[in-house]
């Protein structure tokens, strides 16, 4: 056997090994996806999407409370986290090395590693206890705390990528510093910042633990952010630990919805990412 063919065989063996390993590691994901779609899609219908849950024993009923709740929780969390996150991220990129930046960066990185249930406990002590009751607002606050470090990080990275000479060009035209940031730096990094935000939103849309002692859940139609509110992950949690088969089916249906939502966010992210 000559050297070239030996090398070819070696190459092919490695390649085959890699392909096999890739398949093996993807199989569990594909299986999960398969079961979610198979069990979930059967449950989805108009009533499921548009009506309130029915008491156990009655057939039908839906999850509109969870849909609305998750929508409200995510929107408010995003409204809280995006401006603060962008401002902080821009600050970190503009003043990378002072004491404040270094401290904020460390705190933000630590926060990214804190288990989400701990974030829920923090929100509980800061908002739920002082207010005296569970609320959508406290749930959004907990989700915002999870989202915030992700937005800070992606903003910092994206702003750092904006070439310095673009900022200089703006300043040299007599544009004040703050306007240069607002009108030049942020727009130039916006698609990157939004990509980070969408990734973060996808992450919080499935969070359950931080909502257990904040948003708490509710089986009625509620849009008051000072009252407890339902959410899709909370419904999955409640339905799947129940002893009723009909409720398990509902949990599958909700899982399917969340997976679809995250899929859409991912596609949007990819479209935005191409524009960076």
């Amino acid at each position: 056997m000559n050297k070239t063919s030996f090398r070819r065989i070696k190459n092919d063996t490695y390649k085959l090994g890699l392909i096999l390993l890739t398949i093996i590691s993807t199989v569990p994901f594909l299986l999960i996806l398969f079961f979610v779609i198979k069990n979930g899609i059967a449950v989805i219908n108009w009533e499921f999407l548009t009506s309130l849950p029915k008491p156990i024993g009655e057939n039908g009923g839906g999850i509109i409370n969870g849909l609305i709740g998750t929508g409200i929780l995510i929107i408010i969390a995003t409204i809280i986290a995006i401006p603060i996150g962008i401002i902080t991220g821009v600050y970190l990129a503009e003043y990378p090395n002072n004491l404040l930046s270094n401290s904020v960066r460390i705190v933000s990185e630590i926060f990214q590693g804190v288990p989400s249930i701990v974030v829920g406990i923090i929100a509980y002590f800061w908002l739920v206890k002082p207010m005296g009751h569970f609320s959508a607002l406290s749930g959004s606050f907990a989700l915002a705390l999870i989202l915030l470090p992700m937005i800070i990080k992606s903003t910092e990275e994206m702003v750092k990528l904006v070439p310095a000479d673009i900022k200089e060009a703006s300043l040299s035209l007599g544009v004040p510093y703050y306007r240069s940031i607002l009108k030049v730096i942020i727009p130039a990094s916006l698609s990157g910042i939004l990509t980070g935000a969408l990734t973060g939103i996808a992450r919080i849309s499935g969070e359950t633990a931080p909502l257990l002692f904040t948003a708490f859940g509710d089986s009625f139609f509620n849009i008051n952010i000072f009252k407890p509110i339902s959410s899709l992950p909370l419904l999955i949690f409640n339905y799947s630990i129940s002893p009723y088969q009909a409720w398990w089916a509902k949990a599958w249906g909700i899982s399917f919805l969340i997976v679809i939502f995250i899929l859409i966010l991912n596609i949007l992210t990819r479209i935005l990412y191409k524009k960076i």
């Binding site: 000479d165 673009i166 200089e168 060009a169 040299s172 035209l173 007599g174 544009v175 306007r179 030049v184």
Partner: protein, 259 residues
């Protein structure tokens, strides 16, 4: 007759306490082209950036001395730039950088108007159109881009981008235009076009151009200032200095013995 528009008195500048230029005294003549030349690292960019108060934006950068700009107010002849709002200074003294830097998220049209748009200065559509056409014509770019004004400036060639940046600076109608080695990133043909353009522009604006290219200084400038290791070694009419340099360092630089 000598007609100065910008004067520097005892100007020194430093980064982190490292002195870069020291005790520079210079007067720039109105509607003339002054070239600042000298080997790399001698402080040409630093000097230029002091003139529109961009130097002070670098952390730990210091400036001392006076910079005086001919005043628009008839009562004073000159205003001191250190005590003038840097925003106003930069609107009267425009700048073009070494590397073309059009705004990537703005169109060609918006790039020309950037000074207005970014400052929130409102223009009527017709006014805006006029400013764009006039200044793109000034930099001889109008015919090349008039059908693509809505495209982004980054699609242009390097030379076109640099001319767009010159148009952007000129659109603010500055009195002085600072050019920091504007052709060092360009090919010979684009360089030639920009040099022709610079000579043409002196009718409308006073030009100070940094270059470490002796040939370029000779081709475009009326006056030259030769900087070496942060000192102003020699200043005068380009013709005089090129044919008869007084200082040995200047002569060495002109003949390519130091670079």
């Amino acid at each position: 007759m000598i007609n100065s528009i910008l004067k520097i008195e005892n100007l020194s500048a430093s980064y982190d306490d490292k002195v870069i230029i020291q005790n520079i005294n210079l007067e720039f003549q109105k509607n003339k082209i002054t070239a600042i030349m000298g080997p790399s690292g001698c402080g040409k960019t630093t000097l230029l950036r002091c003139l529109n108060r961009m130097h002070e934006l670098t952390p730990n950068a210091k400036v001392s001395g006076k910079i005086l700009l001919e005043s628009t107010n008839l009562n004073d002849n000159f205003m001191e730039l250190n005590s003038t709002d840097p925003i106003l200074v930069r609107r009267r003294i425009g700048m073009v950088f070494q590397r073309p830097n059009p705004f990537p998220n703005l169109t060609i049209y918006q790039n020309v108007l950037a000074g207005y748009l970014l400052n929130g200065i409102k223009l009527k559509k017709q006014e805006a159109d006029e400013i764009v056409e006039k200044h793109l014509n000034l930099v001889a770019l109008w015919d090349e881009v008039k059908d693509n004004l809505k495209k982004h400036g980054t699609f242009l060639s390097g030379g076109q981008q640099q001319r767009l940046c010159i148009a952007r600076a000129l659109a603010m109608e500055p009195d002085v235009l600072l050019l920091d080695e504007p052709t060092s990133a360009l090919d010979p043909i684009s360089t030639q076009r920009i040099e022709d353009l610079i000579v043409e522009l002196q009718k409308t604006v006073t030009i100070i151009i940094v270059t470490h290219n002796v040939g370029q200084a000779g081709r475009v400038s009326d006056f030259v200032a030769f900087l070496y290791l942060g000192d102003l070694i020699e200043y005068g009419l380009t013709d005089t200095i090129f044919t008869n340099p007084k200082n040995l360092q200047t002569e060495k630089f002109l003949t390519g013995k130091i670079s």
